[in-house]
Amino acid sequence: MGVAKSSSIERHWNKLLILPTMIYLGIFAFGSFGLVLFLSFTNIAFRGEISRFDIIGVENYAKAIMDPTFLTALKNTFILAGVAVPVEMLLGLGIALMLNQDIKGRRILRSLFILPMITTPIVVGNMWRLMYNSEFGLINYVLMSWGILSKPVPFLGLPETALWAIILVDIWQWTPFTTLIILAGLQALPTAPYEAALVDGASSWQIFRKITLPMLVPTLLIAFLLRFMDAIKIFDIVYITTFGGPGLSTEIVGLTIYKEAFKKLNLGYASALTVLVLFIVIILSNIVLMIINKIMRR
């Protein structure tokens, strides 16, 4: 009896303990998602009387998939995520392998490498905007003094270079993140397989290729997934540096949704765009998760 009673108390106690989280998720995750989903089927706008709106079915979605701004934004977002994240992964792996060795000043180096990641995005954006400036920016100055450029280039002001300039900022800011995760993964690896491979006669490259990398794959995929989802959400850097310009050359989905909702005040349409982006992210991340599970089960 005593045991049964205490376990039933425990069960209720457990529920009580997760209650705050459930309330939080209920309001801010499921609640707001439900609201956005509902609004996406309406023509609600921040104009005139907000309470007067009609349910218009999938009209917003139909408009979205034909909307050149949104489609360009999607394309730019995926170019950004598709270029920046793999580069961040490769750089992160390289730096993590370097920091994992017994080198002098390793601790200081580790702290320095994290700096970009812990800097406020607004500061990062403004800093790079100044560095990219064609009249007094550091980057133009260096490239010109090395003779690579003959005249200053307004990197953020040209449609051909603006997106790549932003990709570079993203790489600079988020490589420390992949580095940190991969470094943690490396340090959690057992040492015995390394030693066994050493005794088996393997060279450092063979050990990396055949032993370290296969053991590191789950960590790499998780780092990739986190970074990929984050890269699709990119907003602040673009907001500060180009605000989507010139033209639509750096328009990304976060910015499109922001402009629809808070500049053009089309709340219903912005909601539909949000739902679309959410589904794309869910589908893509599930594909990555499926790959992770497949590898883990092997």
Binding site: A196, D200, S203
Partner: protein
């Protein structure tokens, strides 16, 4: 195959001396066990022979060639670790790994994988992912990987410790059979004296980084050089009785307060070698006869406790303030608090110098 020689080797970790002036020679084709409690320096020694660690002083020779400066890759050794290391690949790929590194031709790799898999009974498991195997099979894969490149020296670091008792016995026999067949120079590290006694041609007993005795299992058991070896080898362990060395009419005897032991012929040797009168007498529980009837020269005692370990009983006999353990095979008729008579078998006891711990006879 080679012989391995460790000369004057010392290894420190901070202030602790893990290995202290070790000298050890393993002959070509010999199976040597390094035996000792945890922290005695046995694994450190093995890792240094492998090249995974380096001695601070002293040298290691393979066939008179100094290998101190060689990396593990260059030493051509096979090693099996306590926690069976298999790579996240199939058994076939695991076994082939050391050969692929050497870029051997494909058909030779296949031939040798097939051969070693047969020896280790892994033929049916070749295409299974090695990480999915049970502990004993994993350990066989690790062993196969160590053996496949026909290493100069085979190093085994407690390879059986993490297996359960039944598998451990099976693998022990398998190892013995394998060694008979391949005759590779082998160093086997263990803390299990039974394992060392059954496997080793010779055993190096270590304690606190110092080599205590390096001898055959027979000699370790019958002629231990000091108290540590006498105590560590044998199960149940040896009885030690504090005695005073005394003399009467030119003959020496040991006074254990509650009983006396005549030394007879050994008197002269003991009197000459003992550094003081304080000595310890050691006798193994299996070298004591116990009976309910009194016989000549027997000591009278009372049964204090009976430990039943299956087909054997360890009977604790109390004589005065001393407890002496006696091993009896088969069923026992003895009961608690019964008065019994015990007698030491002739020439089976040892006398140790209490101060130095070394054996006198």
């Amino acid at each position: 195959m080679v012989n391995v020689r460790i000369e004057n080797a010392t290894k420190r970790f901070g202030k602790t001396i893990a290995v202290n002036k070790l000298n050890l020679e393993v002959k070509d084709g010999e199976f040597v066990c390094i035996l000792g409690p945890s922290g005695c320096g046995k694994t450190t020694t093995l890792r240094c022979v492998a090249g995974l660690d380096k001695f601070d002083e002293g040298h290691i020779y393979f066939n008179d060639e100094m290998v101190d400066h060689l990396s593990p890759q260059e030493r051509n050794i096979g090693m099996v670790f306590q926690f069976y290391v298999v790579y996240r690949m199939t058994v076939r790929e695991n076994l082939a790994f050391p050969l692929e590194i050497k870029n051997l031709p494909r058909d030779e790799i296949n031939r040798r994988v097939k051969e070693i898999a047969e020896i280790l009974r892994l033929s049916d498991l070749l295409d299974v992912n090695a990480t999915k195997l049970g502990p004993a099979e994993k350990q066989r894969v690790a062993l196969g990987r160590a053996l496949i490149k026909e290493p100069k020296v085979l190093l085994l670091d407690e390879p059986l410790t993490n297996l359960d008792a039944k598998l451990r016995t099976e693998m022990r026999i398998e190892l013995m059979r394998l060694h008979k067949r391949l005759r590779s120079t082998t160093i086997f590290v263990t803390h299990d004296q039974l394992e060392a006694m059954t496997l080793g041609d010779r055993i190096a007993v270590m304690n606190l980084g110092v080599l205590q005795q390096y001898d055959t299992p027979y000699n370790l058991y019958y002629h231990p050089k000091n108290l540590f070896v006498a105590d560590f080898i044998g199960s149940p362990s040896m009885n030690f009785i504090e005695c005073t060395l005394k003399r009467k009419n030119g003959e020496a005897f040991l006074d254990a307060t509650d009983f006396k032991i005549n030394l007879g012929d050994l008197s002269n040797v003991i009197l000459r070698k003992a550094s003081s009168e304080e000595v310890l007498m050691g006798i193994r529980p299996e070298h004591i006869v116990i009976s309910k009837e009194n016989v000549n020269d027997a000591f009278t005692g009372i049964i204090d406790f009976i430990e039943n370990i299956g087909d054997k009983n360890i009977i604790h006999v109390k004589i005065g303030n001393q407890i002496i353990r006696v091993l009896v095979h088969g069923r026992t008729e003895f009961k608690l608090n019964e008065t019994v008579y015990i007698k030491f078998l002739m020439n089976t006891f040892h006398v140790f110098d209490k101060k130095t711990g070394s054996v006198i006879v």
